[in-house]
């Protein structure tokens, strides 16, 4: 599946032993009798394209993010990168930080996913000047 993505259902969690998240969990199988199953790369590409729209508006950003967070997966760094850049085009730093919080929450008990994502996103965060919640100190309640 995704490089950094796990099935967050119990099946995925059980098979998770290694800490380095280069682990491919089983592909989601649906009971299509004849439909084509979308590959992980297609899924990622679709979402990167969605957020890469140059004139994306606030509603589309919110809708996209809320939908993406609704899925049973942690988005790939490249999808998040695209979303963060969309926030930059919309001059919305708060939403960018919120997105980082949201994906940390999505990872749930798997505590090694979020550091990996931040590590992968570090160039983008530095380029756009986005501080992580940890840097701002809002990651503690």
């Amino acid at each position: 599946m995704f490089r950094a993505v796990y099935r967050l259902t119990s099946a995925g969690a059980r098979s998770l032993v290694r800490t380095r998240p280069g682990y491919a969990a089983p592909v989601a199988s649906r009971c299509y009798s004849h439909g084509k199953v979308e590959t992980d790369e297609e899924f990622d590409a679709r979402w990167v394209t969605y957020f890469s729209k140059p004139d994306i508006d606030g509603w589309e950003l919110r809708k996209g993010m809320n939908t993406l967070i609704g899925y049973d997966l942690v988005p790939e760094p490249k999808v998040l990168d695209s979303a963060l850049r969309a926030c930059r085009r919309l001059n919305d730093l708060a939403s960018a930080i919120r997105i980082l919080e949201a994906v940390k929450d999505k990872a749930g008990p798997h505590e090694d996913i979020y550091p990996y994502l931040i590590q992968e996103l570090q160039p983008t965060l530095a380029e756009l000047g986005i501080s992580t919640p940890e840097e701002l100190g809002i990651d503690k309640s």
Binding site: L93, A94, S95, D105, G129, S131, L136, I138, D139
Partner: protein
């Protein structure tokens, strides 16, 4: 709970005439009614599964806020930490850790359950004393003995049950 149901009700109430809901608070003598929320418009909510709500938390911006928003249009690396936090708080009410804070609600719930169970117990006890009629005479000891004898004479469950345990020759339980 209101915030959760609001997300669902938003769609349902969208078409309803919101005149009644949006009426300004009524003052009756010295009594003040609490602010009504217009649920036909996009609402703010803090939910872990919906990170970006329909509208920012703070709508009415002070001049300082507006200046900050203008600064947001430039490079974000020029914003200080405090400014970034301020921007976050303008847009959102609670951070994720704040949303996920444990409450002590379970203590109230459990306490309420026990309280009402106890109260029910008292009610049942009172009923037992004051409401229930007296027991029939067939519950008394002699009557019970006669019923028992009748069951044995009828050979109730003679194979594996009741009468099978009675020794008819010796006239006693096995």
């Amino acid at each position: 709970m209101l915030r959760q149901t609001a997300v669902h009700m938003r769609g349902l109430l969208a078409r309803r005439a919101s005149a009644a809901v949006t009426s300004s608070s009524v003052r009756m003598a010295s009594h003040e009614v609490s602010e009504t929320v217009d649920m036909s418009r996009p609402m703010y909510y803090d939910r872990v599964d919906v990170p970006l709500p329909d509208k920012p938390y703070k709508d009415l911006l002070t001049d300082a806020d507006k200046t900050l928003k203008q600064k947001e249009k430039g490079p974000w690396s020029q914003l200080s930490k405090e400014e970034k936090i301020a921007l976050y708080r303008l847009m959102f009410h609670q951070t994720y850790p704040e949303m996920k804070q444990k409450t002590s609600e379970w203590k109230t719930v459990l306490g309420g359950i026990f309280f009402f169970l106890g109260f029910t117990g008292l009610v049942v006890w009172w009923q037992r004393i004051y409401v229930y009629p007296p027991l029939p005479k067939t519950f008394e000891g002699d009557s019970q003995a006669m019923q028992l004898k009748r069951m044995l004479d009828m050979r109730v469950n003679p194979v594996q049950g009741f009468s099978a345990k009675w020794d008819y020759e010796k006239g006693q339980w096995k």
